[in-house]
Symmetry: C3
Subunit: 437 residues, 3 copies
């Protein structure tokens, strides 16, 4: 695969490579994932927090090293084997190796009766226990008798890992892109996020950037909490917008989950991009949140973080089961999300305040911007330019102005270009009301 491969296919290829890895809160799976991404993003730094470290209200638990997990019957058949699907073991299970009767084993089994064909995804990070996940059908087929349960894993002091890539811009203003690398073999609610973050990072690397981009590959919840406990001051001071990338790989309807405040720059840019990229999308309330926006948007930190997704986590039947596999996502689905996010980031890059420099309309004709003959429809031809000037009162940013004149903000950047060149339009980072001295 080369850089000429369409971006959707590139992303799908990376997801395919990363799919089999047994990720968890801590341990070699996360490191293996970050090492793979580092090949694609040379500037990506892999960092770590020692286990036992207190991060805000939490303590980083031991590192989990997983080797194997299975249930054997008395004939030695491996009825359940994490080698076939790594969701079969309760993630972060403590080790076990013993024979128990089915009646006792039932306490350690997790299945979803309402979707009897799929293996559920279950974790137990903060209480030591062990267990197996299996489909309801598999569970119903278990015969009475004794079973050999084996989980070959360690829980020992070590580190919790994360990846961080800072792409500096001309200004101090920051855009946060955060995704997670802690779920084992799931495609939409795991790998679609890191592969989109990777594709965006590569695209941003080639731009002359106004903003600084902070791109994070964390373990969900605790990774975000640990990262914030170190960096919240700087992030609170500089972040103008942020996005959590999650569930961005399928082909279904776009969806949007705003920040807690609901009308930050991140929300405005995202809604504008969704409207002009997708036409229709489903908007959720922040009450339906579920990923690291839960941390970024807590009151004392309160970052402007939103999510543009395809199918929202928790709201599609395959969510947190073995059915969220590589067939859930597609090159087209991933590419759609890539186009949506690049549109949104383009708008953030161009989001100045627009100010007309002259009183009254300028004489567009002598600048070659207006037809010299005036017929019934001639005014329409330059309508877009005069509309931009008419609303450029220095109090509206690009998004406000685009919405005031009913245009796509990316189109407004194109319409504005000759006006800026002719000195008819001035840009500024802060509101600057149009005024004659």
């Amino acid at each position: 695969m080369t850089d000429q491969t369409p971006i959707g296919e590139q992303m799908y290829g990376w997801a395919t490579d990363l799919f089999p890895i047994m990720r968890s809160l801590t341990g070699p799976g996360v490191r293996q994932t970050l090492d793979y991404l580092k090949e694609l993003l040379p500037g990506l730094e892999t960092r770590s927090v020692p286990t036992g470290t207190r991060v805000f209200d939490w303590v980083v638990p031991d590192e989990w090293t997983f080797r194997a997990a299975y249930i054997e019957d008395e004939q030695g058949n491996r009825i359940i084997d994490a080698a076939r699907c790594n969701l079969h073991v309760v993630n972060y299970s403590e080790p076990v190796d013993k024979w128990i009767y089915l009646s006792e084993l039932q306490e350690y089994l997790y299945s979803q009766p309402d979707t009897p064909d799929v293996i559920p995804y279950v974790t137990s990070y903060y209480k030591r226990r062990w267990g197996f996940c299996l489909s309801q059908k598999q569970r119903d087929a278990l015969l009475p008798g004794r079973y050999h349960v084996v989980i070959d894993a360690d829980l020992k002091p070590g580190v919790m890992n994360f990846g961080e890539l800072i792409l500096p811009g001309r200004d101090q203003t920051e855009v946060l892109i955060s995704t997670y690398v802690c779920h084992p073999s799931m495609a939409n609610n795991e790998l679609s996020g890191p592969v989109l973050a990777t594709a965006l990072a590569r695209w941003l690397s080639g731009l002359d950037r106004k903003h600084t981009y902070r791109i994070l590959f964390l373990v969900e919840t605790l990774g975000a909490i640990a990262y914030l406990s170190e960096h919240w001051r700087q992030m609170k001071a500089n972040t103008i917008a942020g996005f959590v990338l999650s569930c961005v790989g399928d082909d279904r309807c776009y969806s949007f989950l705003p920040s807690r405040k609901g009308n930050t720059l991140a929300d405005r840019a995202a809604r504008h991009a969704l409207t002009h990229h997708a036409g229709q999308y489903k908007e959720y309330h922040f009450l339906k949140r579920g990923s690291d926006e839960r941390q970024y948007c807590t009151p004392p930190i309160d970052l402007p973080v939103a999510l543009m997704m395809r199918s929202k986590f928790g709201d599609y039947p395959e969510y947190h089961t073995s059915a969220d596999d590589l067939s859930m996502i597609s090159p087209q689905g991933l590419e759609g999300s890539f186009r949506l996010y690049t549109k949104c980031l383009t708008i953030l890059e161009g989001n100045s305040y627009f100010r007309a420099t002259l009183p009254c309309e300028p004489q567009m004709g002598r600048r070659g911007l207006y037809p010299t003959i005036s017929t019934r429809d001639s005014y329409l031809e330059v309508q877009d330019m005069v509309d931009v000037l008419a609303y450029a009162d220095g109090t509206m940013d690009l998004i406000d102005l685009a919405e005031a004149i009913g245009h796509d903000a990316e189109a407004v950047l194109r319409i504005a270009a000759p006006l800026i060149r002719e000195g008819l339009l001035a840009l500024s980072d802060k509101p600057c009301p149009a005024n004659m001295e």
Copy 2:
């Protein structure tokens, strides 16, 4: 009747006792009513203003002492007799005792042709006149001839009475509860108000109160004007919410009449209580006002006073007629209003600003507030607690916060209790934005 009697029946019993009394703007009827209430509310103070006193733009008129009123025909039959229904006399009539022909008598008769069975309620407080009220059917049945009209009543200097009960709270903040005791035998548009005020006062007496409660039993309009002329400064300074109790005894749909400004704390608490107590209710505009909110909400005084009612005054056919009798109200209707008002006052008592004390979500698990195993649905179980924390940014009061998360504010008080106990949530009387120092 004891304190164990259901509250609706207690209230209905009090209304039954008070129904026959001939109340008016001034005179023994008001005093008799206040004396009865004083038995139920030992702290109630009966106060008075001398007639002739100037109160703002008004002068308190003479005291009216009523003894009897009737119309006799030439055979000595008492065709109309206020002893049968005290609405038969125009309230505040001057005395009269003479024989007149039917044609002349007609000028002194009041009836409602559109509801021909009922006796209308008519008053003439500010112009001396006399008259009788009767049903249109009674009027139509009058035969030509001479009639003996007798009104045995005095209009003499005296006092205008009112009852005042102040229940002090921990804070200076006041809640006003105002009702009226000036209508003769009418049930919904008179007695439902004082009996609900009495029940609420008894309930409030048993609470550890944050706010001070000013509970007033006034004659409508002039009583409120006279009371305000004395107390407006203190009331304007301290009143955070107020309610006029009127038409709260029937079983029909709840209704709401907001304050003039429409979004004061009284309005917000009332709408919230109505929504979660009644589900549906009818909201009127302040333009449809009619009781003492007319005085409390006038611009220079501008108290935050609203009304939660059942059938609104002026908007039910029995209003201001003899059909507004004890069959209009019921123990169930009164009890529903009692529950609604106690809910509303509970919300006002608990209406602090909520502030999360920690950055990021706390580790609920180690506090026993979160299940230790994470399955697809486990997050939902503590959703309410994390939602309260997520919105507790110190800028929203209880009502705002409850509405932001789509909950009943009383339920939020229950959800918040363990969070307050664990130190995860702090309360304050004023907005106090969540911030890490």
Copy 3:
């Protein structure tokens, strides 16, 4: 025609007189039009700007003196002749006199294929060219051969004219009324504006005015730019509302084009007047602007200027063609617009802040403003007065107050009159919250 002639017929008569004049950006047609109006408005001043003057981004071009324009065939027939309809010549054409073949002539012809019976209106002010306008049917009927094209006109240094009438008021506050006198024979999109401005000016002359009225008869675009370049400081400082009069003569649905900001005093007064005069009207967005509001509302100048119209310019089929003739407008249509504008200006004249002077409701009865007997419906009779008092908190102007109580602002002025006389209501030019010292 006398002052007793109904105003709609007077206006229609003036339009009929002015219709044949060959108006343009500059030249004798504008002067002839202004001279006619001066007969009706003795105070009207005719002013001028020399050609070659720089006005903001523009330069005033030469003066155009038109004498004749026609196309003759080889037989000497005048196929096209501006003497029959002055739209036949491209307005502001340079002179020409030569024989050319039809194939070459086609480049100089303008027609509208989609409306084949009408002659379009075409101008070329800022590039020297010549041309003829004709109906598509006329064009299709042209036979191959040679044609004699003659435009007898001059383009020479001179002046650009405009008319200005200042009607001083008691206050410095100004209302702008602006219309244009640069289109040749068109009725709705030209003459309806100046004749309505004239009628309003005559009506205003007879009023005891609070505001000063600045009434302008300009050439569109460049006239407004030139006028603003001289007067913008004073206009920006004093103008509380302004209106461009355009397309106000037909009988079709009323329409409204708000100012750029959309909620200035001009917009509020206009929407209120439209609602209570017309009931329904069509509201356009400022993006659909097209007359001198384009200049008045540009960001650095930003005057509160709106348009109340009948059929909006650009939105009716006869617009900018020979079909916009005297049959497009009517005395009734003009009179409706006159009534609408006088209503709107009456509201602006009466637009004080209203403040109740007394706490509580006043005793209306002893002032003869309230019935002395109180029956079920008696309160309704004075509802309007107490509603005005209840909302007169000193923070709402007439329009706000009228809308708060659901009334026509002109009706509120009538309702308020006895209250002002009795000292119950005070007026002020600025917000003045009702307060007891």
